[in-house]
Symmetry: D2
Subunit: 487 residues, 4 copies
């Protein structure tokens, strides 16, 4: 199946029947009909439908090098600046559809997989089969438009040592417990596989140790498996929507990407799905040399821009509906958002303008502007949500539901809740959206998510700091200046 | 009925049967059994029970000047610093019980009413009956331990003018549409009467115009009425809890103070419940000269302190459970909270230390430290919530429910989710609390609420600025200094 | 004289002999030898020398359309993106020479004049002579490489009305007091003509009233005159350098751009130097339609970048010399600066990438990224200075002078003050630079200057806000989204 | 000599003739007549004069327990809350005289010495003579009103190891190089002995190692010596005033506390001046158990308050002179300062209200509010300086000198520079003060100084964090709450 459509997406998920646990029960039946997943899956389906829609198809797919059939553009390894532009255009199309609210829009994982694939040679340094596995897996995903999630965060408890009855010491960290002719056997758990159960497969790669790198570390591996492999269980958090109504819960009813704790209990990963095994240094090099975080950041900044544009729209609309469009304090706040939008857009333009090829032939955007975006957005986003609250004030809380507008009190609501140039029903729709974005449980989770999207602050800071490999140039300017002064 | 207990509180509310609208339907039956109100009412009942509990009774009540029976201490007009200390001790007892999560803890409105009562003489300047009404109403509330809410925010739409069919121009602002022998007839709406339907009565006083003060302004009045008067309807927002479980939703299931839009449709307010009518200047003077905002701020800072202490506990417990108690970045963040707690406590101490009597014989705390607290807390509180998110990270999202801990996956949860010195079930309880405080829809509403609790920033700023009536003293220091330099 | 060199610059200033007042005395003799001006003038001379230096000449000049001789590139009206790139390259060359420390680097005013020139047609709407005057004046400046300053800020006192003895009311606002056959006669004062006395001429244009625009407003005009016209006096503030030593005062001894209060006392401005007279609307249109603030912002962002790069160099060098290059708290701070540098660079790239021609044939960079830079830099710059202080700590204060290093205590200084990989003398040079940048009176003035460089915050905010002319596009995204949800 | 006066202060300093190096030369003659010191010394003399002035004497001195003569109140060991109040009143009198601009107002060091004295018993644990030395030295200082500075910061270079010619390894860290019958011989250097040369003696105590505490560490000691001991040299930074005029430089001409690098070259410290020798643990305990940082913080917060009040006066006066007293943006900014002033005052009140005796019989203020002040002021102070700049704008730069006002341009200055309700000369005096406070080199050094006054941020944070010894109480509130929820 080349670039799939929404129905194909849903059918495949519904058929897979992974072991999903929700509020203490294993979920049976079609996932796409379950209240906790149906809204999100329908949103995802709309994204996939765009791939086959005449308005977008040309901009969202390219001919498969294998079959010539249209496959998703996010799988394309960019070799020229034009490729980067094509990829960006496609990512923007999806981003503008989901307004940046989906962190796991399909292009996110497709891009990461493409990065690994482009550097597959590297994996062959250990064993040529690993390189081959990666190339084949990439092709498989591209040709079948596989939806992916990923997992790599070990639970905090994995840092504790446990004393067993027999006197041995054990940690609960995920690890390879056995290797046999069919593959490796893995046991452990990973936190926060977002959208783990509404995708086909999962890519697993816990970060390798940078301190005492080993060559046969049982905790170091990278592999990909279908979600329904025996021994895999998915524990979901609750759904964050207070109800189904799209009027009442315009975001939470349709964009809540379920986070899961994924459990591996003696899961057999077939050899042809293993990409890294035991080698800490290779694991670290794969990330660095494949430019994984650069390719991903290119996708992420498109999402940031779409989200900021949508937020700007919400804020401007609030100002309008409250007749505050020329209020100085409101203007100052919305202009903060405008400045951030201009900044993000400029960082994207600069990243593409400064792109250069790497040794694998990929055209790599300038990492510095991209990683700057990753540094600032975790502060920009919460501030934008704060601005919505500050401008909306009590109007973001006193928001009747659709049922209220269908009841006997409708005339009063119509009378008392109308806004500037907008009737009460439309104004309430806006403020319910503002609430769902910045105040509801869904909104709270989005804010938390953006704070940590590309890692803890210290990680993001360090990534950008170390990307400045020419620090001596800047110090040199000062030394030259001082030299001239003293001459 | 003197200081009431929880059962009495609930029974009275259940009997009153005001016209409450929830999700498009009028609520019938006992409010205390309705899913949207029962949690909150049970929490309130616990507060009232304290008044009659031997551990607290002496500190929470005083003998009624009328009957000698114990009545609620928050009704006490403070005449000495000792009275202030007694009031503060009582407010802290309640605050520590609800951890500052109830903005409409009974002492809040009781205090406001006491302020008006203490300045009742003022009302008599217009008409002695108004002063008398206030005194009698205060006594009625004190002796019957009436629960109050209040309303004063006109809907935004009240600023629009409407052209009627007959050519006349009308606004939907609340106003007196008729006066007759029985009372005044009021029509209009007020936003955000918090806890409007879980209290007995409502005090209504839209702010008077400071620009063109009138003497017979139909939009200017102050009165109090039972919630179930004919013509009053209450439109509720949705309940913010995702469920009933106290384990899963430790705050939202029990502390969600319902906000309401209250509609008045030709409501007859009896004359003996009218305190102000038409006189803008008197209305403004009542607030200023009764020290309404000082007395209230004394209650509010107690609540701030209780909430900050609870938040500090949550943060310290998170640090402990994640083994980050000696992590410098974590220490820096929690110390911010410590500094804010010390600041709030000191502002309270200073306010009481600097108290002085007003012309009505009330002992008034120093308003400056109190209004400083009102200025800083709207920034401090969101920052504390941010700190919870920054320290908790993904652990605040991946929080299984109680049902999960009762299911087949319990062993894995126990294994993978335990923390430092705390088992998985207890750690998850903590993180569910942290989530409900800082991320859930309930948490989001709390944050918004604190931002605006004592008014828009510009109002709070202005209040503090104008409390500095001795600005010339500070300028004088500079003039003296400059004079000496030039001498 | 085409593009001049340093000696020519100095000679012309020295010959002009304007009426300069410094510390209560009129300055006589050669300005270039006066302690308050010689350092700055020598720095400026170095800039002009670059224009004739073989390494830079091609990149700093272009052939005069009149004579074919090389003239300064900052006079070039850009008609293509290549022109913009050439202009930027030239501005960067100068910016990297003075490290952004000169707000009145010659390209700043040349650019502004070019903007007015490019829109000269507009001036002709009132009177064709005004358009002609502007064209001729521009050509004169370009062909003679005239150095310009400008003035437009009326003193605060100009807002007061004064009651004269004869009963008439007068304000001290600058105005045309007479028109005669030779020109207009102007009386008044302007604040803060930076570098007023180390340039050849001054461009004067007080902002026109936007509230009650008049057609014959005596306070509305624009003209340019030599600095030494009769009736013009320049009142200087003190020089901010504590001494002459370039080791001790690496910045203040050479980069202190003297600010002046310029007084006009019945100054006759010849008709051919008048560009606008009396017409408020035209005055406002000139700024808007000439894209004055866009062209200027293109120059300004180059300066911002040069200054940020230099500051980054200082900070990295401090980290190195204090062995803190791998200290997490230091890395976090310097990475803030890196992120700001990336942002500024990206805004510049985006502005040029998005350039489009205006109706006068000028290629105009995208104003949004440029005005975003103007909004953020007033906050970024003080923060960078704060970071220097936080990283440098007491080492930025305990900085011996060159004389100390030449005295008997040299051995001890060498011993106790050396840094990581750098001897005591060089380390002290660095910290004296850091001090002069972030702490000295010179540094303090630079910080204040950057806060207000492109106007008060509210002006800069408003400019960016109103540049978003497509706000409906953003609101439209939200309306579409809500429409879909409700469909 | 009991509590001395200004003349006595000056005479003693002038007689001492320590080895002071200023700009490469050893200073001869009377220090009180040297341009770099005379302004400061005259300011200090005014402080000492207050001790003998009838208006202040009773509030600034107390009868010596030895002689009954009046001695400085800052030497008083507080044993009751009344003692604390007396100390505070005295510290406020001095603080209001120097407006918090002197970090080394005499009460600062007197207080530190008193803290050590009060815990002298502790020193006796090692050797009874050390306790005795401390008691006698304290009495000597109190009875002779000795002015003290202190030094403890080792130069950064002290962390490097040096390889000597003979193969041995040496560091330049200060240390005891010999002990003989007369005393200990010390070599090394200390950074930033503020006011080192305008005081009589210096107290030296480098911090002991907390990592590998030794008992005979040659780098660990505490002693006090006169400034003119053979082998001590003082290297001064430059004076930060641009001139002598008190009109022009109202602060820098009189409040520049000279920072010095003090060099010890085989200085013999007599045994009776040694308080600690070699014992790291004792050194650390001395600071902790003497409550040194609490007593000091009590003095420091008085200084903070005086400085904030003065700054508030400057800001209010600026608003008035620019007619911005009712401008919302200005009100918001000045109200920030008001809130900080209220906070500081409240922290002081709370610290005294919560005082309790320690085991040495000293009444110790509550450390938490005081250390909170130390945490916030380093951020509050720079922000206040920023506010001055933001409100003053260009008016803080274009400030003519006194000489200008005495010259031919006076009429124009009088006309164009007058403010709201204030003439040009007085307004300029105000803005010169604002400049000297927030922008000049003096102002820059004050800002840096406040950032680090009580140590690096991490030290101040850690001090406050660890003062919360009852963290379990706060965690307990949460555990109780969760327990109730689950019950």
């Amino acid at each position: 199946m080349p670039a799939k459509n929404g129905k194909q997406f849903i059918d495949r998920i519904d058929l897979a029947k992974p072991s999903v646990w929700f509020r203490g029960e294993e979920v049976g039946g079609r996932l796409s009909e379950h209240p906790a997943f149906r809204g999100l899956m329908s949103t995802q389906a709309e994204l996939y439908d765009m791939q086959n829609h005449p308005d977008f198809k040309d901009r969202m797919t390219y001919p498969s090098p294998t079959t010539g059939d249209p496959v998703g553009l996010s799988f394309l390894q960019p070799k020229t600046k034009e490729d980067l532009a094509k990829r960006r255009e496609m990512m923007m199309l999806w981003g503008e559809k989901h307004h940046g609210l989906l962190g796991r829009s399909p292009d996110y994982m497709n891009t990461g997989l493409m990065a690994f694939y482009s550097a597959a040679d590297l994996l062959g340094e250990k064993d040529p089969r690993f390189a081959d596995n990666m190339r084949k897996y990439y092709e498989y995903c591209r040709e079948h438009d596989i939806s992916l999630s990923h997992a790599f965060v070990q639970p905090h408890a994995s840092r504790f040592d446990e004393l067993l009855e027999d006197g041995s010491i054990e940690s609960c960290a995920a690890r390879v417990v056995e290797q046999n002719k069919d593959g490796i056997v893995v046991t452990g758990a990973f936190l926060l596989a977002t959208q783990g159960v509404t995708t086909d497969e999962i890519l697993v790669y816990p970060p390798a140790s940078a301190y005492l790198p080993e060559e046969n570390n049982p905790r170091t591996f990278a592999f990909a498996v279908p979600n329904n492999l025996p021994g895999i269980r998915w524990i979901c958090r609750e759904n964050l929507a207070l109800g189904d109504s799209e009027y009442d819960y315009p975001l939470s009813s349709r964009f809540d990407e379920m986070d899961t704790l994924v459990l591996f209990d003696h899961v057999l990963v077939p050899w042809d799905r293993v990409f890294i095994l035991g080698d800490d240094r290779l694991s670290m090099r794969l990330f660095a040399e494949s430019n994984y975080h650069v390719h991903s950041a290119h996708q992420v900044i498109c999402r940031y821009i779409a989200k900021t544009e949508f937020t700007l729209g919400v804020i401007l609309y609030i100002m309008e509906s409250l007749d505050r469009s020329s209020h100085p304090a409101a203007i100052e706040k919305v202009t903060e958002v405008i400045a951030q939008l201009e900044t993000l857009k400029s960082l994207l333009i600069a990243a593409e303008a400064g792109a250069a090829p790497d040794r694998f032939g990929s055209m790599i955007p300038d990492r510095r502007p991209l990683w700057t975006a990753n540094l600032i957005f975790p502060k920009v986003y919460p501030r934008m949500m704060e601005i919505i609250q500050l401008l909306g004030s009590s109007a973001v809380i006193m928001i009747p539901s659709k049922l209220d507008f269908e009841s006997a009190v409708k005339p009063e609501l119509d009378k008392y809740l109308r806004g500037g140039g907008v009737d009460a029903f439309a104004k309430t729709a806006l403020f319910r959206l503002a609430w769902d974005l910045s105040i509801s449980g869904f909104g709270g989770r989005q804010t938390l998510y953006e704070r940590f999207f590309f890692g803890d602050t210290s990680v993001v800071v360090s990534r950008l700091f170390h990307s400045y490999t020419d620090k001596e140039t800047y110090i040199g300017k000062v030394k030259t200046f001082l030299g001239e002064q003293q001459a």
